[in-house]
């Protein structure tokens, strides 16, 4: 197992129905049709996922695609029907009850769609809750809780009750609470789906700010492809319980694995996803000081369009690797791809 893989799922299945384990043993690679005909409800089918250390791994799918079940299988909130789970190399499915409690207490955090705040506790008590569950002294837990509350920008509201806060603020509490124990692996289950579009945008920015600071390993669930594109290092797209493609946002847009994936990418503003390196003419000569090949088209569009000749593209080391011309950029901007 590669060292930088935080969490690995190997052929994880979740079928609902009687005697599901036996069925899977007899038919280890049954397709959707067979599973359904046998009377099972397939929630997750043969999922293989590697979440790398420090990345934002987004699982995207429409409702009923099994993304919520998959993330709950990853933390064994739901017991998978079959498959293996490795967390930091440790076989999670073989972990004892006690070991599992320990891992969850110290190494995992989770944020929920509807916040899941405890209504009878104040903001401070909610955030300190995971720490007191671990058995930390109240004073130490409170100090740490105040730190995280400050971090998510809720300083001064420690003594409010959840119902006195707006949706966005409540989710900030949820985020603070999950960060209080300094988890190694951070699950976010559609954390912004219950919020208004404007607040959602603001929370996404806030989330990016926190991640830039904390560099957690993140599994992020969403049904919103735009959100996935915005936040993800890599995206897994799910349909009918199966993962149909795992790729970076750019790869998804450039090489969708199926019509289904392409359907999602169709309305994505390509200029914000595609980088210069992916569309430049390799080895061609260009003018100018050199555009970094990792830049997105949107960032360099104006310069290229205003220039009279194709512009030079350089790699991270500053070496010229190709050129990009006006026509390529305009085609991407107006959506006429390739």
């Amino acid at each position: 197992m590669a060292e930088n893989i935080k969490l690995a799922c190997r052929n994880v299945w979740k079928l609902y129905g009687p005697r599901a384990v036996e069925f899977l043993k007899a038919n280890p690679d049954a397709d959707l049709e067979r599973v359904k005909n046998a009377g099972f409800v397939p929630a997750v089918r043969g999922a293989n996922v590697d979440v790398r250390d420090g990345e934002i791994f987004v699982i995207m799918g429409l409702s009923g695609s099994g993304k919520s079940t998959l993330v709950r299988c990853m933390s064994r909130l739901i017991e998978p029907t079959a498959g293996e789970l490795f967390f930091e190399g440790q076989d999670l499915r073989k972990a004892s009850k006690k070991a599992l409690i320990d891992i969850r207490r110290h190494k995992m955090g989770m944020v929920f769609q509807h916040f899941a705040l405890l209504p009878h506790l104040t903001v401070l008590e909610n955030v300190a809750f995971p720490l007191t569950i671990q058995g930390q002294a109240k004073a130490a837990a409170d100090t740490r809780a105040r730190e995280v509350i400050e971090l998510v920008g809720l300083g001064g509201r420690e003594n409010y009750y959840p119902r006195e806060l707006s949706g966005g603020q409540q989710q900030r509490v949820g985020i603070a609470r999950s960060l209080a124990v300094e988890p190694e692996l951070w699950f976010l289950d559609e954390p912004f789906s219950a919020l208004d579009p404007l607040i959602r945008r603001e929370m996404q920015d806030e989330f990016m700010r926190l991640q830039a600071m904390l560099k957690k390993t993140i599994v992020f669930i969403t049904h919103d492809f735009d959100e996935a594109i915005r936040l993800a290092d890599r995206i897994a797209i799910m349909k009918d319980g199966a993962i149909i493609q795992v790729a970076t946002p750019e790869e998804l847009v450039m090489n969708p694995a199926s019509d289904y994936v392409e359907e999602f990418t169709r309305h994505v503003p390509r200029d914000k996803v595609i980088s210069v390196g992916a569309v430049m003419k390799k080895g061609a000569e260009g003018a100018g000081a050199g555009l970094p090949m990792a830049s997105k088209i949107a960032e360099i569009a104006e310069a290229v369009v205003m220039a009279d000749a194709p512009l030079k593209v350089v790699d991270a080391a500053g070496k010229a690797v190709g050129a990009i011309d006006r026509e390529t950029v305009i085609n991407i901007l107006i959506g006429r791809v390739r």
Binding site: H114, L118, P119, H120, F129, I133
Partner: protein
């Protein structure tokens, strides 16, 4: 035959006609001795189940043991454990502490002064909600003092104060266990069903055997009676906790204990408090009934007055029960609502400033108890200043009976001859094998073969234990009452739903009616109509009316507004909207209301045994007075079975109606 299956309604009409004919002419048709067995279940065929039960009970009490100690010693030990806190609370509230025994006893510490107790409930009312509530409960307790009901009321209150914690804690534990273990829930559910339908008198007898006559038996019966709803509500409330919150608990690494007490119970508090309110009200209801086995207090006052036909005394104690019930209900509901209104804690202040109310109460307590040594009026409300409404009630009833006797009598006789007696003759006339077949068939029609089989078994149980005739009288009395309660209640419910102003008044009225202990309903009717089936029916109708009103109002009110609009747009008149849209769609809800009405009617039936009916309720009551465990339990089970059959049939048909309209 095929066409018959297509027209089930016709088949059932034909069967009903056949039943009616059978009932009417059975006595002549089955006159010959060789056929008489079909009308009167032969005594020689009766299974002596009740004797077995009585014998088992006798063995349990006299011979059963666990080696070191006997069963009786165990129960007496439990009784002693319950008795200690009860005696203490009763002394604090009502009697005071004594030194010495019998006549030579001297009071060393008096009970809490009436002023202090009233001040305490006023403070509690203010803490729970507002000055308005404080005024209501304060006036209620003042009433108890001024009208001379104080000591009895405090004895009753002491029983409630002891029974409620036991009931709540026991129900909570059962509910949590059922939530944790599916298998335990599967066992618990039918037991709870049975406990809620079996009449209370039926288990008073075995409790009497085990715990002896006195307040402890009454307390045990009260706890058993009040616990099932708490257990049910607990399981339901825990299941209703947001699954995300449960996931959060697991992800935080909660142990099972932390999960239960730090996550589930606090999150479900809202629902749990509804259960606590139920336990309080049921405890009060049962404490009143349990006066028959020595609970004392207000219930005993009513019972004693009824036995002596002391109209005024009965009314006075009855009104005191009503007032106590309303005060306890309002107070516990307000406390329940408050417990989930989390608000910022008060700013840091001194102890006195933070505990204004408690300090005030303690000061008042100190002053009244201290000065009470010299001015007794502060300690105990002076007897000279007590008012009595007894004479007023006695005279009032006397006046009614003298001046309107003929009118009352006319109504009574008219209903008896034209309504009650024909129904009675109908039910008693049906040959029992035919009736069992019909009950089975109805079960099969509404709930499939499982319900059919269950109905068959339960009906057979009633016949073979020799309860058939009494069961038919039970069904007749209960059925007639339910019909009248529906005829009165459903239109009131519809009216409440259609007119917001009427709805408010009716709402308050039925809320109050619902808090009253069932015993109270007997008092006025027995004064006006004396004893007999008619009196029983009036009391049952009064008690069982509430759900018919409530469910009808709820059903009519909650028809989807889109459908009403669709009706209006299609040009329906108000009447058409009511009859063509609202009522048909409210039908499942109304059916459930009738179901509840039947349940309440059956539970009231047992209590009306006191006014001389000849049904299963009477059987249970006689068993109680003769301390015959087997007789009481078998008759009690028969009542429970009738209730369960009615419940399953009606629930199944309501479900069918709901699926048919697609509103589920």
């Amino acid at each position: 035959m095929a066409w018959l299956l297509k027209k089930p309604t016709l088949v059932f009409l034909a069967l009903f006609a056949a039943t009616w004919l059978l009932a009417k002419y059975s006595s002549t048709w089955f006159e010959s001795p060789s056929l008489a067995w079909a009308i009167d279940y032969p005594k020689t065929w009766v299974l002596p189940l009740k004797d077995y039960v009585s014998a088992a009970m006798k063995w349990l009490v006299e011979d059963a043991g666990f080696g070191l100690f006997s069963f009786t010693e165990l129960t007496r030990a439990i009784a002693w454990l319950i008795e200690q806190p009860y005696e203490f609370v009763r002394a604090v509230l009502a009697t005071g502490f004594f030194d010495g025994i019998g006549r030579r006893a001297t009071q060393i510490v008096p009970p809490l002064s009436w002023i202090a107790v009233t001040a305490a409930v006023v403070a509690l009312g203010h803490y729970a909600k507002s000055w308005g509530l404080a005024a209501i409960v304060g006036l209620a307790f003042l009433y108890l003092a001024v009208f001379g009901q104080w000591e009895s009321a405090m004895v009753t209150l002491a029983s409630v104060v002891i029974a409620v914690p036991f009931g709540v804690a026991g129900g909570l534990m059962l509910g949590i266990l059922a939530y944790r273990h599916k298998s335990f829930e599967a066992v618990l559910k039918p037991v709870l069903d049975l406990m809620q339908t079996i009449p209370v008198f039926a288990y008073l007898v075995p409790i009497l055997f085990m715990f002896g006559f006195g307040p402890v038996s009454a307390l045990v019966a009260t706890v058993i009676y009040a616990m099932p709803p708490m257990a049910r509500i607990t399981t339901m409330a825990l299941k209703n906790v947001d699954p995300e919150i449960v996931d959060f608990g697991k992800m935080t690494g909660c142990t099972q204990r932390q999960m239960t007490w730090k996550i589930l119970v606090p999150s479900a508090l809202n629902g749990l408090m509804v259960g606590v309110n139920q336990v309080i009200m049921l405890s009060l209801n049962m404490v009143i009934i349990a006066s028959m086995i020595g609970a004392g207090g207000l219930g005993f006052d009513v019972l004693a007055s009824l036995r002596r036909l002391n109209i005024g005394g009965g009314f006075e104690a009855g009104i005191a029960i009503v007032i106590l019930a309303v005060a306890l209900d309002r107070l516990s509901q307000a406390l329940a609502a408050r417990s989930t209104e989390y608000s910022p804690p008060p700013r840091e202040q001194g102890f006195v400033a933070r505990h204004k109310r408690s300090v005030t109460v303690v000061v008042i307590l100190g002053i009244t108890m201290g000065l009470g040594l010299f001015i007794p009026a502060l300690q105990t409300y002076p007897e000279a200043a007590e008012l009595s409404t007894g004479a007023f009630w006695t005279n009032g009833v006397k006046y009614l009976n003298i001046n309107y006797f003929d009118q009352f009598e006319a109504v009574k006789i008219f209903l008896l001859t034209n309504f009650l007696l024909p129904i009675k003759r109908f039910f008693l006339g049906i040959p029992w094998p035919w009736a069992i077949a019909m009950i089975t068939l109805i079960g099969w029609k509404f709930g499939g073969w499982k319900l059919g089989a269950m109905n068959f078994a339960m009906a057979l149980f009633i016949a073979t234990t020799g309860m058939w005739e009494k069961a038919m009288i039970t069904i007749y009395l209960c059925g007639a009452s339910v019909v009248i309660a529906s005829i009165i209640g459903i239109p009131i419910g519809i009216w409440a739903a259609l007119s917001p102003r009427a709805g408010k008044v009716i709402g308050v009225a039925i809320d109050t009616l619902q808090t009253l202990p069932s015993f109270v309903y007997l008092i006025p009717v027995i004064m006006l109509f004396r004893i007999g089936d008619f009196t029983a029916m009036v009391a049952i109708v009064a008690y069982a009316l509430v759900p018919a009103v409530r469910y009808a109002a709820h059903g009519v009110r909650h028809v989807s507004p889109d459908l009403i609009e669709a009706g209006v747009v299609s040009g329906c008149t108000k009447r058409q909207i009511l009859f063509k849209i609202r009522l048909p769609l409210a039908l499942p809800e109304i059916l459930l209301g009738i179901n509840q009405t039947i349940m309440l009617a059956l539970s009231m039936l047992v209590i009306t045994a006191l006014v001389g009916t000849r049904d299963l309720g009477q059987e249970v009551y006689i068993a109680l007075t003769k301390a015959d465990t087997g007789r009481g339990l078998v008759a009690g089970l028969a009542i429970a079975f009738i209730a369960i059959m009615a419940d399953r049939i009606i629930s199944a048909s309501a479900r069918k109606a709901k699926t048919r309209y697609g509103i589920d």
